[in-house]
Amino acid sequence: MTLGIASIGNRAAGAVLALAVCLALALGAPAAAQDDLPISAFYGTFVGTGVAKSEDSLFYGVTLRDLDVTIAPENGGFAVTWTTVLREATNGGPAQARRKTGTRTFLPTTKPWLFRAEGAGNLLEGDEVGWARIEGNSLLVYLLRLDGKGRYDMQTYRRTLTGGGMDLTFTRVRDGDNVRAVSGKLVKDGN
């Protein structure tokens, strides 16, 4: 009889302990939404083309651009490196090419879907503030900066994995005005 009571007591204590451990785990480390891909799913090199629209598109038309992006593990998080080649007609003359590159490293946070830009500084002191997040099969990168008059410039890159590669949408909002939007399709060129 005594043994029986002790056994029930042990089982109850075990159940309480298990519940406490589960709660501690749940509170201590937020779980990713079930349909969020891990960051490793986005690793690779992708190449493609995009079309850009801006406030001037009504008069000057859209511009085409070649897009390359590499997403790779870095410092426990990941790095995104992108190259854009723009071909723009100038004053009716032949198209001239311009090449832009950029790279940012993002470090993990306590939330598996959220990453902090490495070296992010103080927005009010003119530094760029960046972060990235995963939403389902999309990786979003945000880059925010203020100009010398305190007007904000928010750039958002949404890269969505598709069957053969990646869809890109880029938007740039400057103090409430949508100054540019780019949409493009890329195929995976390497891991």
Partner: protein, 206 residues
């Protein structure tokens, strides 16, 4: 006759006060622009005062929603070398102010000039009891606020992230007018404007 003269004198005095009310902000701005380095401080002075008015939501063009009315009460006053802004919003219910569902919200924010920048103000830093002054950290769930002064417009920005990392950026533009202030508010939620509010407020003589 005497009554008429008194009325004319009173009218003239009222006109004079009204003209002064209109001209004062303009004169302050003109003085500030000619004043050089301290220009933003002087222009900021033109915003000091108490304002009361109304505002309403601006439905999207493809929406059948009706504008929702709210009463606005704004006080802008000096705070150290910057300013403090207090605004009270009374959310009307179906246009009614006297209704059991009416809500009232008070917001107080303080801003100080940003070092090395003209016309930009940072939110006065929170003081942590154990760690001293602490700048807001967006990724840690803090809201980042700043303000800027551009001519006759004082803009206040408020930026925060939700748990998923989606941003919400609220912008309040308050523009000096002969009456008081024109108000414009937009809420940008992860790239999409999901709320616009427009209104106006009259300057109140304290």
């Amino acid at each position: 006759m005497a009554t008429s003269r008194t009325r004319r004198t009173g009218d003239a005095a009222r006109c004079g006060r009204a003209a002064l009310g209109v001209l004062a902000p303009v004169l302050l701005i003109a003085l500030a622009i000619s004043g050089g380095a301290r220009a933003s401080d002087s222009v900021l002075g033109a915003f000091h005062g108490t304002f009361v008015g109304t505002a309403a939501t601006v439905p999207a063009t493809d929406s059948a929603a009706k504008p929702r009315l709210r009463d606005i009460d704004i006080v802008i006053e000096p705070y150290k070398t910057g300013f403090r802004i207090t605004w009270i919003t009374v959310f009307r219910v179906d246009g009614k102010r006297v209704d059991p569902g009416v809500r009232r919200r008070t917001t107080v924010q303080t801003f100080l000039p940003q070092d090395g920048a003209t016309g930009i103000y940072r939110q006065a830093a929170e003081i942590d009891m154990f760690r001293g002054r602490r700048d807001p950290d967006l990724l840690a769930g803090d809201t980042v606020r700043w303000a800027r002064l551009d001519g006759r417009t004082l803009s206040v920005y408020s930026l925060g992230l939700d748990d998923r990392g989606r941003y919400q950026l609220q912008t309040y533009h308050r523009r000096l007018t002969s009456l008081g202030l024109d108000l414009e508010f937009t809420r940008l939620r992860d790239g999409v404007v999901d709320l616009r509010i427009a209104g106006e407020a009259a300057r109140v003589r304290d």
